[in-house]
């Protein structure tokens, strides 16, 4: 008797646990797709609306997790668990996840051929295409045109001029540059912008990144002059240690309100900046190199759309990718995120804010090695960026920071290949 009542209780508990799952029953013919992304829904609003209009049979649940909030961690864990999203916006991790067999091979899909090769290379692993480019991204130095004009300052064309701008503004009582350096990203990107100018602009170095993937060459040897040149912005006091106590967003707020004249970021920040200050007179110039020139932007194919190989809704997901490969979709994408398209035959106007970048764009001076070619881009630039924070706080040298990046590269090669 007592056992029975006990079992009954146990059964109740099991039933309760079983009854709680809140899994909604599938209704109608509508397929629900989980779309996980590391850029917020606001930066895709027009595109998402376009998808909803064109694909009435598909409902997209957009899940935004920022990179800073462990996007990769959450995604990896979900894929590991076989519980991943159907469509994923993916950047530097694409090759790693493709190598692990997590992503659907898209090579044979018709829509893939509509993109320029430059947009597909970063998402190609062992000859197979696993992602299609969403659009390009680029990052330069945003500046407050009104402040520049007020103090008679013109856009700097060389690193020395860039440093001089800081000094002039400082002398005029204006905070020159703000940076949310509590995130490891901005310094990493700014220094790579200088590496673009000093290292990648030389055709002799075109094969460097491929060799870096097998650890045959090292950043510590090749990038040292470029990053040392960049580090002058630290030595000259353009970047200061108090920036380490400031987040990306706090810096953005400071720049938007006119509290600082320059801030490094990209077009995705535009809507936030104007929301905070509709009167902001915004411009952007490329990251300059040692000698005078058009400068370089950090960027390239920004992120790609990939499909989870274990998704149960591959057909619907493919429909979304195919629709994205149309000029209409590309225009919708750039409505909230000014940039260029990798879809062959689509040319988009960048707009006023980026007029100072025109020369750099015309010269094709946009590059981000860790996204474009590196196999282990994300972990390597994170190690590099965190070490640059230590360079700023004075506890590490540039050479040591580069060595840290090399070491992470070696660890990851070992992790995946041995």
């Amino acid at each position: 008797m007592k056992r029975k009542s006990f079992l009954a209780l146990l059964l109740c508990v099991v039933l309760m646990l079983g009854a709680v799952p809140f899994s909604a029953a599938a209704e109608g013919e509508v397929v629900t797709l989980r779309f996980m992304a590391y850029n917020p829904a606001q930066s895709r609003a027009t595109y998402l609306e376009f998808l909803a209009d064109q694909l009435p049979g598909i409902e997209i649940v957009f899940e935004y997790v920022s990179l800073d909030d462990d996007f990769n961690g959450i995604l990896n864990a979900q894929l590991e668990a076989g519980a991943g999203p159907d469509i994923i916006e993916l950047g530097g991790e694409t090759k790693l996840l493709a190598a692990a067999g997590r992503l659907l091979d898209l090579s044979d899909q018709e829509f893939v051929a509509k993109y320029a090769q430059a947009g597909l290379t970063p998402y190609t692993w062992e000859g197979k295409v696993f992602g299609t480019p969403l659009q390009s991204w680029y990052e330069g130095i945003f500046y407050n045109k009104a402040i520049f004009a007020e103090h008679g300052i013109s856009v700097p064309k060389s690193l020395d001029a860039f440093i001089q701008v800081h000094k002039d503004l400082e002398a005029a009582g204006v905070k020159p540059q703000t940076m949310g350096a509590s995130s490891w990203e901005p310094m990493m990107k700014q220094s790579i912008g200088v590496a673009n100018n000093e290292f990648y602009s030389d055709p002799a170095n075109a094969g460097f990144d491929a060799l870096f993937n097998t650890s045959e060459v090292s950043l510590a040897e090749s990038w040292l002059p470029a990053v040392t040149a960049w580090a002058k912005v630290i030595e000259e006091g353009c970047l200061t240690t108090d920036m380490l106590g400031m987040s990306y967003e706090q810096a953005q707020a400071e720049f938007a309100s006119g509290g600082a004249a320059m801030w490094e970021s990209g077009p995705w920040a535009e809507s936030d900046l104007f929301a905070a200050n509709p009167d902001l007179d915004l411009g952007m110039f490329p990251i300059p190199g040692v000698s005078e020139g058009p400068g370089w932007l950090v960027g390239g194919p920004g992120s790609s759309l990939v499909i989870n190989a274990k998704s149960e809704k591959i057909e619907a997901a493919l429909q979304v990718l195919a629709l994205t490969a149309t000029p209409e979709a590309q225009i919708a994408l750039t409505a909230d995120w000014p940039g260029s398209s990798f879809l062959i035959g689509v040319n988009l106007d960048l707009g006023d804010v980026y007029a100072d970048c025109a020369e750099a764009f015309a010269a094709g001076n946009v590059y981000a090695p860790w996204v474009a070619v590196w196999d282990f881009g994300n972990p390597v630039v994170e190690a590099y960026g965190k070490s640059l924070q230590e360079v700023l706080s004075g506890t590490k040298t540039v050479a040591e920071a580069l060595a840290d990046a090399d070491r992470m590269n070696a660890i990851m090669i070992d992790e995946i290949k041995n």
Binding site: A100, A181, T241, M243, G245, E254, S393, I416
Partner: protein, 284 residues
Amino acid sequence: MLLMALPAFIGFMTFFITPAVMSFGYSVTNWSVYRPEPSYVGLKNFQTLFSDAQALAAIEHSIRYALIMTVVQNTLAIFLAVLLNKKLMMANVLKTIFFLPAVLSILVVGYLFKFIMTSAPSGMLNSAIGAFGGAPVNWLGDPNLALYSVLATQVWQWTGWAMVIYIANLKSIDASLYEAARIDGAGPMQVFGRVTLPLLYPATSFNVLMSLIGGLKMFDAVYAMTRGGPGYASETIMTTMISTGFKAGRNAYACAFAVVFFVVVFTMSKAVTFVLNKWEAAIT
């Protein structure tokens, strides 16, 4: 009879013991997000871990954090408890105030102090220091300070919790013991050292162990306030384990971290228990 323990036991074995054992097992493999089929690699992960300056720094931070947390929090809590135990006006209100932060989630406290301690112009703490004519301090961005800034918020949050436990302990001390000490001519400090402190043994042993283990486990506050930065200055065992395991996808390496974490927690709590037992033997 034992049937009654079954639901708890089965659940515990399935969801705690099994993964714990698996953690130990995986730590000697090369399992990663990018290599779903692991194979045995011996102690390689541990070799990597112990030759990695950043991993070692994270372990060192956790230990330093836990030790300082334990000492500061308990000293403050005993001080507050002894004084609040006197018949003060508003003693109960104060008790509520001191305890209140413990009810808040660590994450929320972390975000709140991130606003207060930021070096951005909106940072309240620096504005306050400025109002008194001081120079701004880079609370979260100075590598020599970041870990202690996080620690300070946690002391703020948990001292009240320890304090109420000390107060309860104090209330159980027989007043006649104080009388006797006073008749012997002991001053207030001597009374505290000879009577109060030894009799606070039960609360102290509990609180010390709790703050030690809590300190070693620190994750939420660092996550909210510094993300382990600047650089690696405030990385702890937990933040490193979560970021290598979940972010970089190096599962087996993260499991090795878990094993080291276990060893650290185990050794340190044993060491502290040993000291506490010595103390107990000495006072009885």
